[in-house]
């Protein structure tokens, strides 16, 4: 139970937005372990508990592995749970992530994207969450702090849908969102309660009716489980679209489902971005449009499930397609690039990969302009390269 909270406009960090979002969702249990730059999320939530705004159970654990274990157990006992982590912390959870999804427990975890060592850094890179693509978690990225708060609310609604029942991982860029303050409109707790009904668990661990879940399972059963989880992830696509629509009509903010198109209608070339670079890219698109260049932008929101159909539909009408990545799969390319090429299989157009901002390097307008410049050139003549390391010492473009 939470105290009645009025709707209000605040100037807050992305971390605060995540914590406040979880508060508004009236979560029952939070188990977490601090790690920069996520620490503020857990800190803020512990303050809510301390101040008596929520009666949620706040469990202090000794590691991220335990944090996820505790969330899984609590969720299996019928509680709505929340946690948050970053980087090394997420890596330590890796094993337990697969348990949450296979047991179909819709835990929600905010991940503040931070570079995974070595070398040690605290800044933004997507090489912590992207390797978890196969864990069975719905994974999405936010552009601003408003989206962080809104997405936490939508995450519960999507994950807890009976056709889905999967854990959800909303991601936010380290510092660029986590420690940046900007205006965020928070709905009232009553409005959120209307939008997000009470969590109705499918099967509960109950001392009166003892049972065990996730125990030793022979080959006769596991393959079907894998299939069902895959089907659930596929079904999540429609649920995400429905939930974002419902959210838009209730709260007036439309996130357009799995992707958002920005000035793609008559575009010759399109760049797909993820996370905070999207905001900077919007400004670049506006400026290039003013100069008469027909450029468009896709904001990728969901990495899992991957919106292959939606992306393909746009790519069918353009002459060159660029994919921005803030992570690298060594020897292959950016994770989103690999995924996009798979989605665009059979289409005859250059698909190029742009890597920038790794390790938290600032991505400026000039970097995004460079990406569009390469794309516009690729439309005229076949490009020599497919992968471009933007602003990288020792690499000439």
């Amino acid at each position: 139970m939470i105290e009645k909270l009025p709707a209000k406009k605040m100037v807050i960090t992305g971390d605060y937005a995540a914590a406040y979002g979880a508060l508004l969702c009236d979560v029952d249990v939070v188990a977490a372990y601090p790690i920069t730059p996520q620490t503020l999320i857990v800190e803020e939530f512990s303050t809510f508990v301390n101040d008596g705004i929520t009666d949620a159970e706040f469990i202090m654990v000794e590691s991220e592995h335990s944090a996820m274990s505790a969330c899984i157990a609590a969720q299996a006992a019928g509680a709505r749970t929340f946690t948050a982590t970053s980087s090394q912390g997420l890596a330590l959870m890796h094993e337990m992530l697969f348990v949450a999804s296979a047991l179909r427990l819709p835990v929600v975890m905010a991940v503040v994207n931070r570079t995974l060592a070595a070398p040690i850094g605290i800044w933004c890179e997507h090489n912590d969450s992207m390797p978890e693509r196969d864990s069975g978690w719905i994974q999405m990225s936010c552009e601003d702090n408003q989206e962080v708060l809104d997405m936490i609310i939508m995450a519960y609604k999507i994950g807890e849908n009976k056709d889905v029942l999967l854990p959800v991982m909303p991601c936010l860029d380290a510092f660029i969102l986590s420690h940046t303050v900007e205006p965020v409109e928070a709905p009232s707790s009553d409005e959120v309660a209307e939008f997000l009904p009470k969590y109705e668990p499918q099967a509960i661990l109950d001392p009166d009716k003892p049972m065990a879940i996730g125990t030793f399972t022979p080959p006769e059963y596991i393959q079907e489980l894998r299939y069902q989880t895959h089907v659930a992830m596929e079904k999540a696509k429609d649920v995400i679209k429905k939930v974002t629509k419902e959210f838009a009509s209730k709260f007036g903010r439309d996130y357009h489902g799995l992707i958002e198109e920005y000035r793609c209608d008559d575009a010759d070339v399109v760049l797909m971005t993820i996370g905070t670079v999207t905001g900077t890219a919007r400004e670049v698109v506006d400026e290039l449009r003013q100069k008469g260049k027909k450029v468009g932008l896709i904001k990728l929101r969901f990495y899992r499930p991957f919106p292959a159909e939606e992306i393909r539909k746009i790519a069918e009408n353009v002459e060159a397609f660029g994919v921005y990545d803030r992570a690298i799969s060594y020897g292959s390319g950016g994770p989103l690039f690999i995924e996009t090429r798979h989605a665009l299989y059979g289409l005859d157009l250059p698909v190029l990969n742009f890597l920038a901002g790794l390790g938290g390097r600032d991505v400026v307008k000039g970097d995004v302009e460079k990406m569009y410049e390469i794309l516009l050139k690729a439309k005229e003549e076949k490009p020599k390269e497919e992968i471009y390391w933007i602003g990288t010492r020792g690499v000439e473009i």
Binding site: V11, I176, P183, V277, G279, K365
Partner: protein, 182 residues
């Protein structure tokens, strides 16, 4: 119109809080777009730090760090020995310094404003561990220079954030607002 501001100070002086307070006050003054963020370093008490703020009457989408500020605010002039605080400053930019000296005592090829924030902090007993904290008076002075952010909005932001110690900070921002020399 977009205004971009960089705060230079030392870890512990409250440069980040200053930027955040400015953002809150700017929103309360009716600006649609406000944003504040620290330079993402490994901050230590006493080490040079940087914080950024953007204010606009339109929504802000830009996410990169500020390279060409309209105003730079220097909480501790001592760091000017090691950091070029005018780096990237726009031609018609302004430097606001925490100093007991007058603007004419400085020879920058830019407009200079000064305010003796350290004395104001001491007078109003704004200290942490005995050391004067100059961030709130500096924002008070900045609000005077900056169009579009109201003093009353800043005081309200301070009340929301500081609770019990708000009152002396409110006094300090008002004093700095009145005493800044342009």
């Amino acid at each position: 119109m977009l205004k971009e501001i960089i705060f230079y100070g030392r870890g512990g002086q409250g440069a980040v809080t200053a930027a955040n307070l400015l953002a809150s006050a700017a929103l309360k003054s009716g600006n649609r777009g406000v944003q504040a963020f620290p330079f993402f370093g490994a901050e230590r008490r006493g080490a040079p730090v940087k914080a950024f703020a953007r204010i606009s009457n339109e929504e802000i989408f830009l996410r990169s760090q500020i390279k060409e500020p309209d105003i730079v605010v220097v909480l501790d002039t001592g760091i000017m020995d090691v950091i070029d605080v005018t780096a990237g400053l726009k031609k018609d930019g302004i430097i606001l310094l925490n100093s007991y000296k007058k603007p004419v005592d400085f020879s920058f090829p830019y407009k200079v404003a000064t305010v003796d924030a350290t004395s104001i902090a001491l007078k109003n007993d704004i200290r942490v561990g005995g050391i004067p904290v100059v961030n709130t008076p500096m924002v008070g002075a900045l609000v005077r220079i900056l169009n579009g952010v109201k003093l009353e909005a800043l005081k309200e932001a301070i009340r929301e954030r500081f609770g019990k110690i708000a009152e002396k900070n409110e006094r300090a921002v008002e004093e700095a607002y009145n005493k800044v020399i342009l």
